[in-house]
Symmetry: C2
Subunit: 263 residues, 2 copies
Amino acid sequence: MHPAQNAVTVQPLVFVPSTGPAPGATQHPAPAPACSTCRHKDLCLPGGLPPGGAQDLDRLMFSRRRVRRGESVFREGDAFRFLHAVRTGSFKCTATSTDGGQQVTAFRVAGEVMGFDALARGRHTTTATALEDAEVCVIPYTQLLALSARSPGLPQVLSSLMSREIVREHHLMMLLGSMNAEERLAAFLLNMSRRMQARGFSATDFHLRMSRAEIGSYLGLTLETVSRTFSGFQHHGLLHVDKKHVRDLDLDGLGSPVGAREH
Amino acid sequence: MHPAQNAVTVQPLVFVPSTGPAPGATQHPAPAPACSTCRHKDLCLPGGLPPGGAQDLDRLMFSRRRVRRGESVFREGDAFRFLHAVRTGSFKCTATSTDGGQQVTAFRVAGEVMGFDALARGRHTTTATALEDAEVCVIPYTQLLALSARSPGLPQVLSSLMSREIVREHHLMMLLGSMNAEERLAAFLLNMSRRMQARGFSATDFHLRMSRAEIGSYLGLTLETVSRTFSGFQHHGLLHVDKKHVRDLDLDGLGSPVGAREH
DNA sequence: CGATTCCTTGAGGCATCTCAAGGCAAGTGG
DNA sequence: CCACTTGCCTTGAGATGCCTCAAGGAATCG
């Protein structure tokens, strides 16, 4: 059995020119600290592995790659060779629709893996842009597949991560399909809050790394509506907001249907 | 290596009561014809396998299950044990949002696989309801995983199908986030047209199996807006519509931006 | 034949978008 | 250090696309 031979259907092992800077793995900028000792191991790839599974991942010796604010790790259309796990910083993933419009499809923070959308066609369908100076682990997909065949639990972990991504998008579809502006922004804030908390930060006080326009693009709203809705929340005592800094989030209040709140 | 042991994280091998009728596989209603000779083998699971791969799948002897119009194959919250491939008929997949609203997240036709959203938590996150009398292949996931470890290409096929699902949802998100009613319905019709054509039916003349309300739920519109937009398309000569029968689709016209059309 | 379901069409309301103006903070060059 | 630019955010006012509410027609079914 040679899993690596079928790893990527379109451009399996050929190195092709990239529009961005050369892929990090070809530069070997710095080996990543081992998965087994990584601060994010419970949130990231090793998360669902049986005891000792993280050590298996260590053998792959992922390289690290630094990305400056505004730079992209991969671009829509790039040949797929690597998954990328966020180590530090945060990213937005954007896609271009048939009519040429750009839209944010995801925000990614530490411990989250980017690139699963590229498996189907062997090319990335989104562009991942750093919202602040950031660092990613560069995970060669063919090597991961090869390890997959030997490491118990790893295939399920990968399936599970992809499945989770499908469910995440379901939630976003429900949001876009049937919520008003207040509900959308509240859901967004509660989601960010949960992810901040899971990473050891405050659930009620944090910095948003993305602009109003990016939030709007993600939520299917204009930046003006996002701004107005923030102001409305503050007016109703659900949070304090100063540009990108939100604090005193009323998690219960934001989670309640609009009608059920004291006005 | 015992992949089956980690197949489903929450409810791996335990048979639990289901809200619907008993799962088809426990009834062994009828063995499915072999994948290798199935009419949909190029669209379905065997699609990306190397030559001979479909024979491997044959050994799993999937059972078939008949589903009447309005009945569901699985329900939101059901323990996950099977993937389901549509053999005949069509389905809608619906999910419940936090505020209790139901929304259609997908329509499925012959050769399409349902259930990938359930891998992450071991429970289905959607309900799959037949839009007409239908038949599905019942694919035991643990057996598929076990075969996966021996059958070259199968892991990639599964990853690829899940990745394709992620990309599909990206498209839907773009649609919901940034298109108006005409663009949404046009995109929906073009998508259905492509899928009909891929199954040997006319690309410009087919029956919709879902109601206006279901289309609306899928597209984030009300049923009245869907109806009005159909009428508008007909008025502009882009199609003829009579209830659920659409014909004479102007594929180029529907694919053009609204402004670019002759009014 | 009545009940039910689904579709179509109309009229009015409203949430959000569009367009526009101005403020604030950070960066840049003289 | 200050004038200027630039990017981002906020707020207002008016326009509009879609929703809501309502009525009626057509097909299906018991």
